[in-house]
């Protein structure tokens, strides 16, 4: 397996795990508060809708020329990666509040309880809608990550294995701990994924434009090291500098 293929599987795994943790938090909060039947109906309905979308749109991606695909996917990946990396840097430096899955869980649970009057009906449409929307939207992002990451290297299978591994691990964690996955340090995960996506995005966009990277695939490792060292130095510098206003 080449360096870029290992990177592909790792980044797909981590990016998908983050999205799945978010979806799982919504499902657990709804299931525990309103009952599992309607909540799980919502989950399965969302998964069925996602499957239809992936089957319809997936083959169209394969017809796009590889250079164009690398530019489009690479630049989207770079923007996405920078968004996560920026937030992770600011959170690590204490300039932004940490993303707290426990708080999100309690907020979702509170909203679900406020609508408890509808829960006694045979089908709890509130629980259904809540889990459907959560799983569908996060799932759409997972599908997008798998299709685009995979298509850019023409290895959708490897990206799908990465996503499948994330699904198994996140589901197992959800079943085992039965509470939001606050034990998964989300900011650290986003930090690593942000670095990987930024490195991948840089590599593919430039390659799609016609740049020849010195060392070919090994340039990915150099880019990752460069961004990781730079981000660490920025966080250190920010921590050493007193902030004007807490965000």
């Amino acid at each position: 397996m080449s360096t870029s293929q290992i990177f592909l599987m790792t980044s797909t795994f981590l990016a998908c795990a983050v999205e799945m943790v978010e979806a799982l938090t919504i499902v657990l909060a709804t299931g525990i508060t309103r009952g599992w039947r309607s909540a799980l109906f919502g989950v399965f309905a969302a998964l069925a809708a996602l499957a239809v979308i992936v089957v319809l749109l997936g083959p169209a991606m394969a017809r796009v020329p590889i250079g164009t695909m690398q530019i489009v996917v690479g630049s989207l990946m770079l923007i996405f990666g920078l968004q996560w990396l920026r937030k992770a840097i600011l959170r690590s430096a204490g300039r932004k509040a940490l993303h707290d899955e426990d708080k999100i869980f309690l907020a979702e649970q509170h909203i679900a309880r406020q609508n408890m009057s509808e829960a006694k009906q045979p089908m709890d449409w509130y629980a259904f809608t809540l889990t459907f929307k959560g799983v569908f939207l996060e799932g759409l992002e997972v599908a997008f990550i798998v299709v685009t990451f995979g298509a850019a290297q023409q290895r959708i299978d490897l990206a799908a294995y990465g996503a499948l591994a994330a699904l198994i691990i996140v589901l197992a964690a959800g079943v085992l701990i039965h509470k939001p996955l606050s034990r998964v340090p989300e900011n650290s995960l986003k930090y690593v994924v942000g670095l990987l996506l930024t490195s991948f995005g840089t590599f593919w966009t430039a390659e799609g434009l016609g740049v020849e990277w010195p060392g070919t695939d090994l340039a990915l490792v150099v880019l990752l090291g460069f961004y990781a060292i730079l981000a660490t130095l920025i966080v250190r510098q920010m921590r050493a500098t007193p902030k004007a206003v807490a965000v």
Partner: protein, 62 residues
């Protein structure tokens, strides 16, 4: 109409997100790289430098 708006909002949120400068840095890197390649100059260093400068600019964030 509702679905078109939702679709456009999804892409706006995806590309612009919390900080439009992410997309701007990417666009600047693309434009400079295309220019350097057209001029026959080595261009592999442009992306890391532009993205690196953007990340360094985060130091100004309060």
């Amino acid at each position: 109409m509702k679905y078109i708006t939702a679709f456009l909002l999804f892409w706006y949120d995806f590309i612009i997100g919390d900080d439009w400068r992410n997309a701007a840095a990417t666009l600047i890197a693309i434009v400079l790289t295309v220019g350097a390649l057209a001029a026959g100059l080595p261009a592999f260093w442009i992306f890391p430098v532009v993205i690196g400068l953007y990340l360094v600019s985060l130091l100004k964030t309060t």
